[in-house]
């Protein structure tokens, strides 16, 4: 944020690594909490909350992928498959054993983590493109398994309907209520990731990413940390899948196909690899931009065309604009939106001087 940091001196390592680098950051967080918990839900139309809900779910998934790809440097194209593992685990537990969400949600995450470790095994021997293909295989195997094992998928339609999550008889059934439900988990995911990456584990991840041989020499068990990264990342993905399941009221593996893995990779690349804020920016960008482009086009286009004609043009044009903007932002700042944000911030920090 645009905090003046003159006069603030850090004299200990702990101070340098604190979650709030500046005292005023606490106030910023307090304002953010106020906005998201009180002001937005009270003032904004349900429709916009529903978009925010989708963004919250995407943030959880993007954070998970960023831990693996951005922080640890292991590529995964199987992220959506881990979501489906979480989704089906939770759906089966919720429907067959009638368990509440606060059991199914971590259970879905843990199951995804377990599967993630298995799929991540090849990372011990290969990296880069090879690992990408190995995780792609994981994605396809998991898709196929869910599609063909009725014990998991619940029958030919491979979809399991679940009830809305409820807590002490309070059901999260409207977009308003789901907003709080999802905000809670998105917030936990953000705080957990922020803490993870400034811990020993997080630093080990970064060391593995930057140079795995060097990391091994300074005493990091790279096998352990690579698998840990897969486990943590898959846990997030699993939770993300569970959130999707409760949000839509159904677990359906067609929601978690290869294209979704690619979407999430796009999110973290656009947002910025290896940064928490970048994951959030990426999730917002990829979810929100198509909607914003469409609404703008509808409004501008309505001046010239009839509704039917606009519909014809918008779809294609929207894809073009979306793709163009991705290229534009990556040319302007290859390190993603997070870096862009930091550039803007440092510009204003010294404003009106140039540096």
């Amino acid at each position: 944020m645009f905090h003046r940091e003159s006069g603030i001196f850090k004299t200990t390592y702990a101070g340098d690594m604190a979650l709030y680098p500046l005292p005023i950051a606490k106030w910023t967080v307090a304002v953010l909490v106020l906005v998201f918990v009180v002001i937005l839900p009270l003032t904004v139309h349900e429709y916009y909350l529903s978009i925010l809900n989708l963004i919250f779910i995407a943030i959880v998934g993007a954070l998970g992928l960023n831990i693996l790809v951005g922080y640890t440097g292991q590529i995964s194209i199987g992220h959506a498959a881990f979501m489906s593992v979480g989704a089906y685990t939770a759906a089966n537990l919720a429907v067959r054993m009638d368990l509440p969400f606060w059991i199914t949600l971590p259970a879905g995450g843990l199951m995804a983590a377990a599967i993630g470790v298995v799929v991540g095994m090849p990372s011990l021997r290969i990296k880069g493109l090879y690992l990408a293909i190995a995780t792609l295989a994981g994605q396809l195997i998991i898709e196929w398994t869910i599609n063909h094992v009725p014990a998991i998928s619940g029958g030919a339609q491979a979809s399991i309907e679940v009830d809305r999550p409820s807590l002490f008889g309070f059901s999260f059934d409207t977009q308003h209520r789901l907003y709080y439900f999802l905000l809670f988990f998105a917030a936990i995911a953000i705080v957990a990731t922020l803490n993870l990456v400034r811990s020993r584990i997080g630093r080990a991840f970064v060391a593995v990413r930057d140079q795995d041989i060097a990391a091994e020499i300074i005493g990091i068990d790279i096998y352990r940390y690579k698998l840990l990264a897969f486990a943590i990342s898959s846990f997030y993905a699993g939770v993300c899948g569970v959130l999707y399941t409760y949000y839509f009221g159904i677990a359906n593996y067609e929601q978690f196909q290869l294209i979704v893995s690619i979407d999430y990779l796009a999110m973290i690349i656009i947002g910025g690899l290896g940064s928490v804020l970048g994951s959030i920016f990426g999730a917002i960008f990829v979810t929100l931009l198509p909607i914003v482009i469409r609404i703008l086009m509808e409004d501008v286009g309505a001046l010239f065309f009839t509704q039917a004609e606009i519909a014809n043009v918008i779809s294609g044009l929207r894809l073009g604009v979306f793709g163009g903007l991705i290229i534009f932002f990556l040319i302007v700042e290859p390190e993603g939106l997070n870096r862009l944000w930091r550039n803007i911030r440092s510009y204003f920090r010294v404003w009106p001087f140039s540096y």
Binding site: I51, Q157, G249, I250, E254, Q255, V300, A308, A311
Partner: protein, 415 residues
């Protein structure tokens, strides 16, 4: 950096102005319909033709003064066959006050079932979604309004029976796209295989279904069936036609379910001449020989505009017209029931549930939608490739209706 920040702020400012200034005043007597579509996703070959059909019918109704004096405004959102945008689209429709919405896609329908019920907005899923959604008591706000995959499978077997005389001791191959929609007819086919005494074997085609040489060879050289039922999507129907033709299997003994049945599929397989005899199942009339299609042509002529090229793909175009027509009828019934006042979504749902005897000159089947049966009877026609075009070879019929209803009832008990 300065320049960059400035241009950034400029974009933001423009955006804000446009969003605020863009909202329009609404006409007094207007009904809003939501329509989800796939114009850019994996099933764009369908959406780019079906949705213009929908818009054209609505435009025709509006050009004649609307439905009972109400103009219809269609809000179309392209969901790209993805689920999150489908949810966003639904919320948008709700915000704009849509009285009903057309859903596009099987996973999208599955994801919206619950939301439709909570928001009490009816959604139609013709040719998509689960067959059990025909049960209006279980899914009160989901309306398949066209033959489900179960009904189509029943009809396909009934047609095979008609062509072969009897099914006792015969062999039927089921060639299907290996996804939930492709597997959906299996329980019906297995049940019928038992009761009708034919041998059924399944041949799965993995996505994206562009390579099925092994399956076709297995069917034609090893299994040697008396009849083939093909349930394929996207580009795969054309591959199947081409491969079967190449192996010398008579296409007159092949029937494709509704998404393996468009002109474009047949043309992509090498042209109408190649696919002579190929049978297709349709839930809307095919061709241009309908009064409503002529009316749409006349509307374009009166406006001095060229005919849209989508009209030539009559299979999907007519389905779009069918969906629009049923939406309009539902609204008409609702307005009539209220004596001309604007209906809410609940009343439009009742209007949809009272559709009966509305055939639009044969384009729409003689369906009867009731609070219990949202499928409307599961009517289909068979159209066959003959002499370079699709010719109707069997008029509206229901195949093994009793079996389908038994399965719907059993499925409802399971939930």
């Amino acid at each position: 950096m300065t320049r960059f920040v400035r241009s950034w702020l400029g974009i933001a400012a423009t955006t804000a102005t446009l969003t605020i200034g863009g909202g329009q005043a609404f006409a007094q007597k207007e009904l809003v319909f939501g329509l989800q579509c796939d114009r850019t996703g994996p099933t764009a070959t369908v959406g780019t033709v079906l949705c213009p059909g929908y818009h054209d019918y609505i435009a025709l109704v509006n050009s004649k003064g609307g439905v009972e004096g109400y103009k219809i405004k269609v809000l179309e959102i392209d969901n790209e066959y993805k689920v999150p945008p489908a949810m966003e689209a639904h919320e948008r429709f709700k915000k704009e006050g849509a009285v009903l919405e057309g859903i596009y896609g099987t996973p999208q329908t599955a994801a919206l079932n619950k939301k439709l019920e909570e928001d009490k907005i009816l959604g139609t899923s013709p040719g998509f979604g689960t067959a059990s959604a025909a049960d209006g008591k279980r899914y009160p706000y989901t309306f398949p309004i066209a033959a489900s995959y179960w009904s189509q499978a029943g009809a396909a077997v009934a047609y095979a029976k008609e062509k072969l005389g009897t099914l006792k001791g015969k062999k039927i191959a089921y060639l299907f796209y290996d996804n939930p929609a492709g597997k959906e007819p299996l329980p019906i086919l297995e049940d019928l295989a038992k009761s009708e005494g034919f041998e059924m074997r399944t041949f799965a085609v993995p996505a994206p279904g562009l390579e099925m040489g092994a399956q076709i060879l297995d069917i034609t050289a090893r299994f040697k069936p008396d009849f083939i039922i093909a349930h394929l999507f996207g580009r795969s129907p054309s591959v199947a036609i081409k491969e079967l033709k190449g192996k010398g299997y008579p296409l007159s003994k092949v029937v494709g379910l509704v998404w393996a049945s468009a002109e474009a599929d047949i043309i992509a397989a090498g042209g109408m001449g190649v696919a002579e005899g190929y049978n297709t199942i349709q839930f809307a009339g095919v061709g241009k020989d309908f009064q409503v299609i002529k009316d749409i042509e006349a509307m374009y002529k009166a406006q001095g505009k060229p005919m849209p090229k989508e009209m030539d793909s009559t299979v999907y175009y007519n389905r779009g017209v069918l969906i629009a027509a049923l939406h309009v009828e539902a609204a008409r019934n609702a307005i009539k029931a209220k004596g001309g006042a604007a209906p809410n979504s609940e009343e439009v749902k009742k209007g949809m549930e009272s559709i009966k005897g509305f055939t639009l000159g044969g384009l729409v089947p003689p369906m009867e939608i009731t609070p219990a049966d949202h499928e409307g009877g599961g009517w289909v026609q068979i159209w066959t490739v003959k002499g370079g075009k699709l010719v109707r070879s069997k008029d509206w019929f229901q195949g093994f209706r009793a079996v389908i209803q038994k399965h719907v009832a059993e499925d409802a008990k399971k939930s």
